[in-house]
Subunit: 261 residues, 2 copies
Amino acid sequence: MPKGQLKGICFHPSKETKCVTCSLSSLCLPISLNFEDIDQLDKIIKRRQPLKKGEHLFHQGDRFDCVYAVRSGSIKNYAMTNDGEEQITNFHLPSELVGLDGIDCETYPVSAKALETTTVCEIPFARLEELAKELPELRSQVLRIMSRELRDDKQMMMLLSKKNAEQRVATFLTNLSTRFKRRGYSPFTFRLPMSRNEIGNYLGLAVETVSRVFTRFQNSDLIAVNGKEVHILNMDDLSALAGLPDQEQKIPQEAKLASEG
Amino acid sequence: MPKGQLKGICFHPSKETKCVTCSLSSLCLPISLNFEDIDQLDKIIKRRQPLKKGEHLFHQGDRFDCVYAVRSGSIKNYAMTNDGEEQITNFHLPSELVGLDGIDCETYPVSAKALETTTVCEIPFARLEELAKELPELRSQVLRIMSRELRDDKQMMMLLSKKNAEQRVATFLTNLSTRFKRRGYSPFTFRLPMSRNEIGNYLGLAVETVSRVFTRFQNSDLIAVNGKEVHILNMDDLSALAGLPDQEQKIPQEAKLASEG
DNA sequence: TGGTAAATCTGATATGCATCAAAAAAACTT
DNA sequence: AAGTTTTTTTGATGCATATCAGATTTACCA
């Protein structure tokens, strides 16, 4: 539960939702801005009514004009493949920015849909660019966030290209765990905001495969699952599975040294 | 053959390699900068000795300090997976920027290696950020370039997640074709700078599969191949294969309309 | 120029996961 | 609370592509 927020009182958004008082500011755009600068940022940010589950933040093809920071809840990005199938390209948790891949387009290249009741901060991009003129820290922060997303995408490409089903699911779970932890939630016990179907779609696996891997992980006491509730019982083994392919258990430094020749 | 460049005369780099006279400037960082601004950009850019095939621009783990624009030749990005296997995450052609995914890191997250004799422009990132302070157009150009890379990455994720071997190779070839075309080369006849092995690695396929698909494409007169030389004989069909999965041939506008409900 | 190594291609076999089918459980609806 | 739909799970089967093995071509180097 996001601390410091009074739920249900949405009529004084300016009071409830300033960046300065936001518990997420240390993970979000305002990092390393001073109070005055945060205040300026605050002025261009609009707080929107919460999205209900299934509602869209924007559709693929909509005119690009804003990026969004997730405040609570979660968002999925997805595109339609040419044969009309949905392809999920990202899940966004609180403090994460949505819509950055539309910057050099007329229109958003993917859709963004709420996985549950979700609140976001709307940041008109033109005004963000203006403000960035004045605030070097804000400028670098935007670059850093995009750079990090690039890195995450490469990781995802490696997952899709080289990892098997178990490694994919293990990676997915440990990754979520890490992100929850940074946001102040338990890294061991959390609720998946997405369906098995969506997990499979994202990981390049059939639903049935995801389900089977969940079952296998439970049988080996790696995790305990109850619907969307996940408990990680053995983080070490799960992380090992996520990182290391097939055989080869940690051959410590040798590999690194050998490759230098 | 890059026009306007005198090969072999590398002793007057300042003369040969100003952004203003560079044939790639309309695709690279200088887009939409005026002459004066380009001149300022020029001052912070260092031209390096050409890299020979196999030489590194930087290694995964090296301290991040510069981004690079490919001037001629080509670069591959790759990371080592935890079991010591190489995973290629990108190929870069002239005018493309290398190293952007290191911005928020101490160190480069991937290695960059020349696929052939390659010249690059070295752009110290700190100085680029300083200059960006003064030049709003440069600022947006960096954002646009990163945003485009984000979009390309999502496309790649979709390829790895949903497309079969033929679609992957077709996508790869048409994508290369497009990029060569934009750079003034023939979109129908070009030389692959990378090996079959590297293509397979990048596309998440075994070498043998890449080879077989090449053969099949030749048998269906989609392409003609001679070693690394590729001729695209039937661009329409190749593009169709790249874009459209399995069955369903182009159901024109209906899909778009139907999905609006 | 010949000789060796590396890359590419082709065929045979194996396998991990998708697909199909259907039951079980959970989530909505009235 | 009962009925309906949706999601999740489990099992049986098939297929695309990996893997293994070997031939062939190309590249490299003394």
